[in-house]
């Protein structure tokens, strides 16, 4: 049933670079550890040891859960370029599907932070005049991202639609 709702629009979903999953698998432990270091140290110093170990257990459980889900969440990402619009789907827990007509794009940005660069990745962001409706495609190979950006802009110019 739900597969039906997020089915690809005629053409198959294009997937993100596998490097994006690798980056996520590195980022998830870093992020959750950073989040839990403070509470864990505080719990060990102030409370009984049991409290400290409880915090560590929560950390381990959350981390394991996120790591197990990461590949599935990664596989939910998909985008499709069509004649007049772009489709993007994502999310495992909270699923979504967005469609932005080329004519509505105001600005297309290509971004890559230090870590993304290390993995050879870039993010393409399409900005419309509605902040809730913008589309961000992370984890594309840099060359693909630049090419996608140029295709999007070129189509936007020919299919402009005011606001």
């Amino acid at each position: 049933m739900t597969e039906d709702l997020f089915a690809p629009p005629g053409t198959a979903w294009q997937r993100l670079s596998p490097n994006y999953l690798r980056m996520k698998l590195l980022l998830i432990p870093l992020g959750w550890t950073a989040l839990f270091v403070g509470p864990a140290v505080a719990a060990f110093l102030v409370g009984p040891p049991a409290l400290g170990w409880a915090v560590v257990a929560v950390w381990a459980a959350l981390l394991a859960w996120r790591l197990i889900r990461a590949p599935r969440a990664f596989r939910r990402w998909g985008y499709a370029e069509r004649d007049t619009d772009v489709y993007l789907t994502s999310g495992l827990f909270h699923r979504r599907l967005v469609c932005v007509p080329y004519g509505r794009m105001q600005l297309v940005q290509l971004q890559s932070g230090p870590l993304e660069r290390a993995f050879g990745l870039a993010t393409v962001e399409m900005i419309t005049s509605s902040t809730q409706g913008g589309v961000t495609i992370p984890g594309l190979a840099q060359a693909d991202a630049a090419a996608l950006r140029d295709r999007l802009i070129a189509r936007g110019e020919t299919q402009q639609a005011g606001i």
């Binding site: 629009p9 967005v98 971004q111 005049s129 409706g133 802009i153 110019e157 402009q160 639609a161």
Partner: protein, 460 residues
Amino acid sequence: MSLSPADPSAPAVVPARQVVEHPSPLTGVAHGGIALAAVVVFFVQELGDGGLKDLSGQAVVFGILAAAAVLLAGIYGLFAWRTTAFIVDDAEFRVERSFIWRSSSKVDYTKVQAVEIAQPLVARLLGLAKVHIDVGGAGGLNLAFLTRTRAEALREHLLARMARARALPPGPATAPGDTAPAGTPPLDQAEPPEVLVHAVTPATLLLGTAVSSPAAAALLVAGALLAASIWGGGSITSLGALLAFGGWAWSNVGRNWGFRMTRRGDTLRISRGFGSTTAQGLRPDRIQGVAVQQDLLQRITGLYRVTVTVLGFAESGDESNGAANSVVLPFGTWADVLTVLRAIWPELDLTRVQPVPQPDRARWLTPLAFEQHTWGVGDDVVVAHHGLIEHRLTIVPHRRMQSLSVHQGPLQRRLRLATVAVHTTDGPVSLRLYHLDAGIARRVFEDQLERGRAARAAVA
């Protein structure tokens, strides 16, 4: 790396050689100078206030901090200059930044709304200027700092290129052109006569203000204060409570006193206010969406409030405040609401929009407001109605739809439901069709996309 300007990532139409420009080398000096000016202003103010008593001791610390701030700003500016590049030619306008985060923004020429040149004092002394390129509702691009002449040339080029890009396809876009050049003619040419659309009577305004949830809340607070003061035996606090309530009621009534909507030619005009009258022009073709609200207590009086999302209201910040600006009917009966709606979209007929209820199993998610949640699609508009305490009817024309999305949370997945969101320009109106059957949701999504496409094609 591959994001550098030299990369052959541009489309094939672009000529082989591109001129890559950088901001002025004086950018670092300008940033440092601006920081220095800020520090000096702060210092002088503190001195004037007598905040710095022990000058010798504090001045040293302060001086070090100030020097550090100026140095940091200068270094930032230096990096910004070295790492920012932009390319402007006939085919594209692109800004590349490669400071810690790399970004590359490419602007669609047809989407340029306005180009502003700003000159802070320090920049002016150095002959520099900052360029802001407005591309509509969300976001824009900043280039700092260019020489004054280059900034002006850039603006000329962008505006000319924008005009050309707009002129190429048949039937240029209607709305965006109006914000662009500085010399836009004023909204009304005073030729057609002014016709009254609707006026809010003082009785309706007073009734609407008195019987509403904020009034009840204010009354409760005032009452509590009053009770507390009577218990405590002091009369001053009770006076304060009364004053607070009176002030709230006054500002609410005063702001919308004598609310009139008139039509002159294509433009609607709203004038309101007690004492100082506020007048604003409103072009129906710039209205992106309408929301009709009715809160709990207003159901007794049968009054509604109508607000709109208008393109360009955010920019014209010269009028009081944005929230009040979006109101096109402070209080009115359903007949008044229809009058105002007809003035905005004459072709709209709400009776022809068939309301569709949610499927029965959505009761699990909206047990109390289930009866209120309906949605419908008309020839020109999407309509959604929801709300528990405040009933809200949201209307967005197909041709104003920006993008579209479907969402499904874990509970919705279990119940085979999904929510469709219709995105418009940012404003008070936001349209969501909650908890549709998952199978229908995708069809609604695809059909709505098609309707949006058709409506845009009809306008162009």
